[in-house]
């Protein structure tokens, strides 16, 4: 929640006269979910006087929420992290694990975790995380195929065990012949990453 609040405040700082209503809405939401009613009330008081967010703000005001709003907030609170970790925002893995521990159905946290591994080119960690939090998806399948080929395990049985269609393997072969034709694939991203890393080493 702190990271969400931080990015809302940063956006507010960047908005004209530092008063963007959309960011105040975000701040109000964050504080309502966190149970910080005093801070939420401050933002809602400001929004209550605006044309487009006034009705919403009045409906969200602590003490004046209806049953549906209260259960919506309760549902959001149920997914919050229950263990305190002091972290720097550039290393989110432990935070994402904690989020998924609190709510394994948190699809956004799952996507962030898997994509964080992919962006770090860390396929070993990706395979560990994917085993715990599997999520079908083209990019993930492409990453799995790289890992399988790196470990000489590119057999039809292994490929299908991950729910990957064998036609994806053919596509990977075509990528090998013409990488520039497949710029929207993880293979292309990975290849470029490795190329840059090799250049830096030299």
């Amino acid at each position: 929640m702190t990271v969400a609040e931080q990015s809302a405040i940063t956006s507010l700082q960047a908005s004209p006269k530092h008063t963007g209503a959309r960011f105040l809405v975000r701040l109000a939401r964050v504080n309502l979910v966190s149970g910080e009613d005093g801070a939420a009330q401050k933002y809602l008081n400001l929004l209550a006087k605006t044309l487009f967010y006034g009705k919403w703000a009045r409906s969200m005001m602590p003490g004046q929420q209806d049953e549906a709003t209260r259960s919506q907030l309760e549902a959001a609170r149920a997914g919050l992290i229950r263990t305190d970790i002091v972290h720097q925002s550039d290393s989110p893995r432990h935070v994402l694990y904690a989020l998924l521990e609190a709510n394994p159905d948190n699809q956004v946290a799952r996507e962030y975790l898997l994509c964080f591994d992919l962006m770090c080119y860390d396929l070993e960690q990706f395979m560990v995380d994917y085993a715990r939090y599997p999520r079908p998806g083209r990019l993930y399948h492409e990453a799995i195929l790289i890992w399988l080929s790196q470990h000489d395990r590119m057999t039809p049985n292994n490929v299908t065990s991950y729910g990957i269609d064998l036609s994806t393997v053919d596509r990977m072969n075509r990528f090998g012949r013409n990488p520039d034709g497949y710029k929207n694939t993880y293979w292309y991203y990975y290849l470029n990453g490795m190329y840059e890393a090799a250049k830096e080493e030299q």
Binding site: I9, L12, E36, F52, Q64, T83, H87
Partner: protein
């Protein structure tokens, strides 16, 4: 003309019809007063100095109509009408002219949701005046970024506010808070950061821009205080790291991965570094001088890996001798209050100018209590050595940075009580026996100021006179070269 009037009428009609133009109170004012009529700011049953600006407030309730507020003092009465109780400065000053030592009673009547409601409260006007000037940094409570920071000076006897330094004249540089030496208006220091920045020292109105850094130091100076005699300043040097908490309701944690103490000699442009307050196995920080300038109080903790073990970092409050002729901090260290023994951590010690009291902040752990809701102020009687928590003034959120008035009868502190996000300056009276009164927030011209304000008041610091520093001075210094400091032999 007729056409113009038509458009004006249409605009007014539209405005009245739109919910966005209604001015109504929707909140229940979580940090408002108790009683049948809730007021914000809460000025009920407070003690105030006679020289304070008008205590403007509003009735922070929904559906308040026909409000009438009568202030009575020694047979004289002043009645203000409306839900926003805002004094004319001249009327307030006339009313308060001989109020010192007396109690002002306030009777209020209003119609709330169609029902008549009345309330009565009072406030006591102390015979002890408060220093008339308050400096603070206005900053959005962001955790990693800043934009458009300024350091302000407010005359708290009225509503005059001037800018000491702002982003417009300093290439949007970061600037850190302004602190007075011994609450003197003509003796103070603040930092402008960045390549062209430096420590701006104000000595008897003469301004200098200093680079308080020398080879071998961890960093430039950070927290500190000026010596009463004017030659020295004691500072910490810190490697500061910000991090986030994952738990909802906890926000930011700032900690040092290393910190030492140093002394700046402003006469000889030397940094006096001694190894016993720059130990690798200790974090040393938040130094301040005793009133007589012969001791340094500071906080010290064992060095631990952070942030992994941040919850175990507990700072003790200690005292060491200070030699005002050489600027050296003594090797003998006495513990004033052990954080470790109390499973707590001490920050921001400040000695009262009369030498009687030492005020400091206590949190569960760490060195940054601004977002620690458990943190509160403690007071040590330096005559008896007794220390007590100031439970009677604790807010529901953090109470942190504080500063004494020159007569040692008032102090100001930054509190996030209420919204938990925006620090506001609160004033508290302390009598000769160390008894506190209910704190009150800095009065503003508009009773709705704190509703609309989206900036934190950072490091409020009291001064007995205006610093006289203007943005032009800050801009001139920003462009001028720094005075270098070197390591003392």
């Amino acid at each position: 003309m007729k056409r113009g009037l038509k458009y004006l009428g249409l605009t007014l009609a539209l405005c009245l019809a739109l919910p966005g133009c209604r001015d109504a109170e929707f909140a229940t004012a979580l940090d408002g007063s108790a009683g049948p009529l809730v007021i914000y700011p809460d000025y009920k049953e407070v003690t105030i100095p006679a020289n304070i600006a008008p205590l403007n407030f509003r009735y922070a309730m929904q559906g308040v109509r026909q409000a009438k507020t009568t202030f009575t003092l020694g047979g004289r009465s002043v009645t203000l009408r409306g839900a926003e109780v805002e004094w004319r400065l001249r009327d307030w000053k006339t009313f308060m002219a001989d109020a010192a030592g007396q109690t002002v009673t306030v009777s209020a009547e209003a119609v709330v949701d169609g029902q008549p409601v009345s309330d009565q409260w009072s406030f006591y006007v102390s015979e002890d005046a408060i220093d008339g000037w308050l400096t603070y940094r206005l900053i959005e409570p962001s955790y990693q970024m800043y934009n458009e920071i300024c350091i302000m000076e407010r005359c708290i006897e009225n509503f005059d506010e001037t800018t000491i330094s702002d982003y417009k004249h300093t290439d949007n540089a970061c600037m850190n808070c302004h602190v007075h030496g011994q609450s003197r208006g003509d003796y103070s220091l603040f930092y402008i950061r960045g390549p062209k920045g430096g420590a701006i020292l104000n000595q008897n109105g003469k301004l200098r821009k200093l680079t308080l850094n020398a080879p071998g130091m961890l960093s430039g100076t950070v927290y500190g205080e000026l010596h009463p005699a004017g030659r020295f300043g004691v500072f910490s040097t810190n490697v500061i790291l910000p991090s986030f908490h994952t738990m909802a309701g906890k926000r930011m944690e700032v900690y040092d991965s290393a910190s030492d103490l140093t002394v700046a000699d402003f006469e000889n442009n030397k940094m006096i570094n001694v190894p016993h307050v720059a130990r690798a196995d200790k974090f040393e920080t938040f130094p301040c001088f005793s009133a007589d300038g012969r001791s340094v109080f500071y906080c010290v903790a064992d060095t631990l890996p952070v942030p992994q073990r941040i919850h175990e970092v507990k700072y003790d409050l200690v005292r060491a001798d200070f030699d005002p002729s050489t600027g050296r901090i003594g090797e003998q260290v006495d513990t004033v209050w052990s954080g470790r023994a109390h499973d707590a951590s001490v920050c921001h010690p400040k000695a009262s100018p009369d030498g009687r009291w030492l005020l400091f902040t206590v949190a569960d752990y760490g060195t940054f209590p601004l977002f620690h809701t458990e943190c509160m102020l403690y007071l040590t009687d330096l005559q008896t050595g007794e220390t007590r928590p100031l439970d009677e003034i604790k807010g529901d959120k953090s109470d942190s940075y504080h500063s004494w008035s020159s007569n040692s009868r008032w102090f100001v502190f930054a509190s996030k009580r209420g919204d938990g996000q925006y620090g506001k300056p609160y004033f508290c009276h302390v009598d000769a026996d160390g008894r506190m009164t209910k704190p009150f927030v800095l009065p503003q011209r508009s009773s709705r100021f704190y509703v609309y304000n989206l900036k934190s008041f950072n490091v409020p610091d009291l001064g007995d006179a205006s610093t006289g520093i203007t943005v032009r001075d800050a801009a001139r210094l920003f462009k001028s070269p720094n005075e270098a400091f070197s390591q003392a032999e």
